[in-house]
């Protein structure tokens, strides 16, 4: 609440032994724990979406592969690398900050913001390409019961594709916002090399965004990468289900 240094209180036992009290002020570990718990909720949210995705995968193998094959792997792959590098710049930035190089750290944050925006730009191109191919939420191809309708499995695949990449993109936008805010706090000297929990947590957040993409990318783009020549393992059978290709 205030900038003056927090002096921990002392609790005294009956025998006069003194114990330092952990206050909520300046609790670095508490801040980190809290943020990790928050990230757990994100993991569960995306986890639940992966669950939905996998459930329909067990039902609609071939549709998923076909749909996956039609995604733009070049742009997706490019984005993977962009995100990878942005995670590096973020990490190096924090490292610089902790070693006292504030200027270098700010440069690194700007670099991360650049890569994040690049990612969004590519994503926008990708989505608009899909829109022009007639595959987009609300278009005929993803509605049932008309001449352009795709099979159920593809409707569901693309439904989840737009939902998950959309939510992921939303997280990136939030991340950019957080980084800009962080820069402001650093400039205002509210985040200092001794008191950098905010920076630490935003770096964690950025790694989480990266982490989610690590699974989103192969699940959507790669499962149908070579759709011609092979069969997927029948993961449906692992769960006692059956697939509908019979």
């Amino acid at each position: 609440m205030s900038d003056h240094a927090y002096v921990p209180e002392i609790a005294t036992t009956r025998d006069g032994v003194e114990h330092e009290v952990q206050g909520w002020q300046g609790d670095f570990y508490g801040g980190k724990l809290g943020f990790w718990l928050f990230m757990l909720t994100e993991v569960l949210m995306f986890g639940a979406m992966f669950m939905v995705l996998t459930y329909y995968f067990t039902l609609h193998h071939q549709d998923y592969i076909d749909a996956s094959a039609s995604l733009n792997r070049v742009l997706g792959g490019f984005n993977t690398v962009v995100l990878l590098i942005s995670a590096l710049t973020m990490g190096l930035g924090l490292l610089k900050f902790r070693s006292g190089d504030v200027k270098g750290a700010k440069l690194m944050i700007w670099a991360t913001i650049f890569f994040a925006s690049l990612f969004l730009g590519v994503k926008a191109i990708e989505w608009s390409l899909e829109f022009h191919h007639g595959v987009f939420l609300g278009l005929d191809a993803l509605q049932s019961g008309n001449a352009h309708s795709k099979p159920f499995g593809q409707i569901l695949f693309f439904g989840m594709y737009f939902t998950m990449t959309g939510l992921h993109g939303f997280h990136i936008i939030i991340g950019i916002g957080l980084m800009l805010w962080l820069l402001k706090r650093i400039n205002a000297n509210k985040v200092t090399t001794d008191h950098h929990i905010l920076y630490w947590n935003i770096a964690l957040y950025w790694d989480l965004v990266h982490l989610i993409w690590v699974f989103v990318f192969p699940y959507f783009y790669m499962i149908g990468a070579d759709a011609g020549g092979y069969n997927l393992p029948d993961i449906g059978s692992l769960f006692g289900g059956h697939n509908n290709e019979h």
Partner: protein, 144 residues
């Protein structure tokens, strides 16, 4: 533990680059795998690579190494997700009378324009049920 302490940039940055190179290699594998090797198991291989990448990121970029409390909670949450995964997928895949009961992408949906849900769906389900109800009856028995 105090992670608030100062660090030596030059000493630590090497680790970050090593991780980056590792991740780049794994990404390359991700790309070439479907056309190169283990093409029968692309899905599993892809997710395994993802898992390895995730663990590297968690351990090194996110400094999870050595954090017992947080580490355990993370594993617990991941366990819960996987647990939900398995039960739900098992269950909805085993909706009673599986054979006739799944909303599948069979020919009914793809080709039929106009609003034919009513007749089309009930008709198809009726016919299939006649074919398979004997089999499903046996299935019900064997479950007990």
């Amino acid at each position: 533990m105090s992670t608030n302490a100062k660090v030596d940039y030059q000493a630590e940055k090497g680790g970050y680059y090593k991780v980056l190179i590792g991740l780049l290699i794994l990404t390359t594998i991700t790309f070439i795998q479907p056309s190169m090797f283990l093409t029968d198991a692309t899905f599993v291989v892809q997710l395994l690579i993802g898992l390895i990448k995730a663990i590297i990121i968690l351990f090194y970029y996110m400094h999870l190494k050595g954090e017992t409390l947080i580490g355990w909670t993370v594993s617990f949450a991941v366990f819960i997700v996987i647990f939900f995964f398995s039960i739900v997928i098992y269950d909805v895949n085993n909706f009673q009378y599986v054979d006739e009961s799944h909303i599948s992408s069979a020919t009914t949906s793809a080709g039929s324009p106009t609003a034919g849900h009513h007749s089309a769906s009930s008709e198809s389900s009726h016919t299939t049920s006649e074919h398979t109800s004997g089999a499903s009856h046996e299935a019900t028995h064997s479950e007990h």
